[in-house]
Symmetry: C2
Subunit: 341 residues, 2 copies
Amino acid sequence: MGTPIKPTINDVARLAQVSKKTVSRVINKSPLLSDKTRKRVESVIAEIGYVPNPQARALALRRNFIVAAIHDNPNAQFLVNVQQGMLEGIAGTDFGLMVQPVDRNSPTIAADIRDFIERQRPYGVVLLPPISEKPELAQLCGDLGVRYVRMGSVKLDTAEHTVSSNDREAVRRAVSYLIEHGHTRIGLIEGPEGFTSPRERRAGFEEALEAAGLKVDPALIWPGKYTFESGVTAGQALVELKNRPTAVFACNDEMAIGVMIAARRSGLAIPEDLSIVGFDDTPLSSHVWPSLTTVHWPIVDMARTAARKLIAPEGDKETGAEWLLPSSLVERDSVVKPNSD
Amino acid sequence: MGTPIKPTINDVARLAQVSKKTVSRVINKSPLLSDKTRKRVESVIAEIGYVPNPQARALALRRNFIVAAIHDNPNAQFLVNVQQGMLEGIAGTDFGLMVQPVDRNSPTIAADIRDFIERQRPYGVVLLPPISEKPELAQLCGDLGVRYVRMGSVKLDTAEHTVSSNDREAVRRAVSYLIEHGHTRIGLIEGPEGFTSPRERRAGFEEALEAAGLKVDPALIWPGKYTFESGVTAGQALVELKNRPTAVFACNDEMAIGVMIAARRSGLAIPEDLSIVGFDDTPLSSHVWPSLTTVHWPIVDMARTAARKLIAPEGDKETGAEWLLPSSLVERDSVVKPNSD
DNA sequence: ACCACGATTACCACCGGTGTCAATTAGATC
DNA sequence: GATCTAATTGACACCGGTGGTAATCGTGGT
């Protein structure tokens, strides 16, 4: 099992009877190189199974081949989708993916991120929501000289370095969809306070009602925490109302499913007695019964785009459509016309 | 925004009026160094905010500070738990975590893993189930000279480099628990074929029955794929049996919840008409109603242990209890005595 | 055959650390 | 104060690549 000593560029150079630099040119596909030598070097490389040492390359180039996802998001499905998207974005390149969670509530969050970046010096980082909403963290990345892209629920304060999806519009469409089905009393389960995405989603909710000439009834709006339990709690409160809503929009799927459970416990039939729309399009949403009509949030696409942007050569910074990815409404079985009883 | 040029060891050396080597000693907490110089160097480091370049260190030490999780596992919660555990395991060190998914069914899986390892040269890798069960992949890591630890559902062919949990025993206990409650007709929803963990779980199931003097009835054993849908399908088949079981053990929580749904569709009450036990203790299991009695699989602990083992100094290879982590049964609300009707 | 010139290739320094070993310094002993 | 030994510190090569520039090669023109 002897120590497997990796061949180095010097070994290749010696065997191919060329200088290291020439080998380096072959590795980097430099055009100023004759076909003959290229072939010769390539055959030596193949023969001894040479792979350039990434650490040496990183040192010489003063850049690494690693991108990192920095997050503070407890949702497993979200994270996995992000990772999948980023991996798609770097597929076929020499880049690898690191993950680094941080604690949003820690007072040392900035120091922690700085620490991570300085300790690993990744080529670039993707800041995931909700920490992507803190401009000082983006600033920090800039100061540290590391490229970064933020993933957001909406154009943040500055569009630069941001891949986003328009939550407000998505929710407006979803709620309009309920209205088109004839619902006029529509409940809302909000997300946690203090972040942009829940705010945007609420704004979209209100815009849809207003566009249809409906009044926003505060009694139908309940706070939630993006957790299943908070959905149950809020759902229960809503269905126990004297004048209960005929439909509910929940700011994420987990809460929507919580509402389903709560409604059923109260003897309501879904969707006959209560239509429900969620947000995220998690796998779960198609597993529950009835399957959940929900807003498909293009996480994978966003993450893929973010990763691509990150590793794109400087100067490719064209902004525009590609940085703002569309959501869409996935119509399943949890919405019907309201009961006319 | 000028280019943020990182101070290097040379800057520190110059400012502190010592050689780079001395600075290096300070960084590495070498004992052969006078307190006076150490203090002086440290103050310079603090002043200019010097952080050693990880790539240069990696090159000189011929080892870098990255561990990677290599997986082929579609389950989001599992992955996130593993990541959490590994991050706990490397917390406080200079190590970072990379993730690399591979495709179990791809014929190039070995080449893909080799590619990843050679391209990134991580310090070590953790092979997650189910690919951890393929001995040739562990072999590959050994050949490539990268440290590795496998996470398994049981002692695999060789205990070396393996952190595991005894699934067979866990399932035996879970099924015995059902038997103790008076169940004698117990259904089993299996996991996918071809992997160790489902096999072990089935073995545990049979052992429990045999230990209680019960016969294993093939009619009560249904294949599953670890997915919610497969649980629904199998559950439906079971409850439609003429002589249906009074309890079901499903090889993971998702399928267990599928069984719940299927049973309810057929008009059965859970747990009164059908007791259910799952495996994994995913968050979902406590969210469903009734909450699911399930086997807690110590993923986080296993991953933490695996990461620690990976970065432990050579020679720390003591085997034993720490490498085999205990599962436990989490008693919730999905198990009661069988109906005597 | 000779020269200019572009295409190839080699040489050497350098990226920012660490290992080795020699040189220097300090403290102890007589 | 001289000598010896142990404790500190420094000089230099090296890890395995890349950049810049000089040297060499081949070719066409005259």
